[in-house]
Symmetry: C2
Subunit: 301 residues, 2 copies
């Protein structure tokens, strides 16, 4: 699983401060999460092949999370894209994109779908044979979802040495992967556990931005491998969280701690802070395994 941070800053686009956008590569899928202004510039830099992005997930309709979407859709067209693209986002996003495509009299030559969301309950919105995606309803000034990306459990892994030793024919390997006991060359039933290993642990990533401190999400993201949780402010500005409906680094860490995640990643930093390390320090007082986003940074998990 690879996470590329295209932008990790709150509010307006500046040199060296791109608004929220991330690329998640999981099980061979490439998902774009949020798409702040100029995300396409950062995307080119990240060397992600544009045609591999088939799904875009938009959390909410504040500009710093989606103003780059129309530009990206248009660029895909200019580059001759043929691959289908599906946009998941709050109700209203389709009209916003279509009014702009209409005004330009642009014909989009690839299938462009919208899945508009308005439920305040978690919903499974995407599923294929390897991965599924659920919404994580958040608490912000406007309707806003985080997204939970989960690999499905893979097959059991064959312990080749043990399987040879037990004289099992390769024709039975698929059955073994599915967990069945199988006969060996001499007709003796071999217990699956003797010749296979546990499946690889499924990867999972929860993206939670923007939101007030909202413990209700803990149950849904319990034991997730990697949690990105916004930390717009430090605790010294906690009083701003109520009005703006954002979180502090400490609050993000408390969510990580309660959900017993493996790794916490912070981001969506307000422009008022010069020293990014203060976010890490504050979070680590509550949750040790805390990492910081930076524009362009890549994480492997």
């Amino acid at each position: 699983m690879k996470l590329t941070i295209l932008g990790c800053h709150a509010a307006s686009l500046r040199w060296g401060a791109f608004p929220t956008s991330q690329v998640l590569e999981i099980s061979g899928r490439v998902f774009l999460i949020d798409c702040g202004e100029a995300a396409q510039m950062q995307l080119r830099r990240s060397k992600v092949k544009f045609s591999r992005i088939k799904q875009i997930f938009i959390s909410h309709l504040h500009g710093d999370h989606y103003y780059g979407l129309i530009g990206l859709i248009s660029t895909f067209q200019l580059l001759g894209r043929e691959t289908e693209l599906t946009i998941y986002g709050p109700r209203g996003i389709k009209d916003i994109i279509l009014i702009q495509l209409d005004a330009s009299e642009s014909y989009i030559g690839y299938p462009l779908n919208f899945v508009e969301l308005d439920s305040d309950k978690p919903q499974k919105i995407y599923e294929d044979e390897k991965v599924m995606v659920e919404t994580i309803p958040l608490k912000h000034r406007i309707y806003c979802n985080g997204y939970l990306f989960q690999e499905k459990p893979g097959p059991r892994r064959i312990n080749i040495d043990k399987a040879k030793e037990a004289e099992i024919d390769v024709a039975y390997f698929n059955k073994l992967k599915k967990g069945s006991d199988v006969p060996n060359k001499h007709g003796k039933i071999i217990s699956n556990e003797e010749v296979t290993l546990e499946p690889h642990l499924p990867k999972s990533y929860a993206f939670c931005s923007d939101t007030q401190y909202y413990p209700k999400i803990v149950e849904q993201i319990k034991n997730v491998q990697v949690l990105y949780h916004e930390s717009t402010f430090l605790n010294s500005h906690q009083y701003l969280c109520e009005r703006t409906m954002h979180s502090t680094a400490k609050e993000a860490a408390e969510i990580a701690q309660s959900a017993q995640v493996q790794t916490l990643i912070l981001g969506h930093y307000s422009g008022r802070y010069k020293n990014r390390e203060d976010f890490r320090k504050e979070a680590q007082e509550v949750f040790q395994n805390t990492l910081l986003t930076e524009d362009g940074k890549q994480f492997q998990f």
Copy 2:
């Protein structure tokens, strides 16, 4: 008169290739012309004070000329702007901006006006005591205007030495500036021409992008001081101009030559060309005083 090129490239935003946006400073006014994606990044770099921009002129509703507008309007709000802002652009631009402001439930705390254009004839759309702005209807795939910025003729300039010599009281200087003859201390009528100089030559700038070769504009931009004319292609790709409704460097130069402008500036380069100098060379075969835009470049006239 100062012209700052925020972006000068056709089509999609890339590192080192910003789409069209320019800042024109004339007679103390600061006008923004077109606003491609990420124009606000470039605007910060240019050191233009945001609050000095009170008018934005959008040529047409292709994304590379206005996708940065909503981000700029939002950033002005975040920065606590109070100064009025007026957007001039094709009919439809208001709905595009308002649907996005509505979706974000954002309250814009400064007066935001729209002047929507749909005439195919030149119109005077802005005038104050020093400057006026007219549309230049262009010929593109969708409705598109260039803009002509003109200083009004200033007052006659008093030749202080001559005025003293002629013994004219300072109380008459305003009359002199307006071109009147005035009496001196002894009641003798002094001819205006004896004690004043011609006004400074009014500055003027014509912005013409995007357009097919369109000689109809020549009459309106005749003798303009500086002409920016798009040159998306070189003459070797002239066959693309008909379908895309763009111009070559040669065609831009022919317009400059016919209109007898002082200076031609080229831009809106297609991404297919590596060597920018080829544009200058091609144009200079027709019109000698040709300059090239670059992102971030500033011209003084």
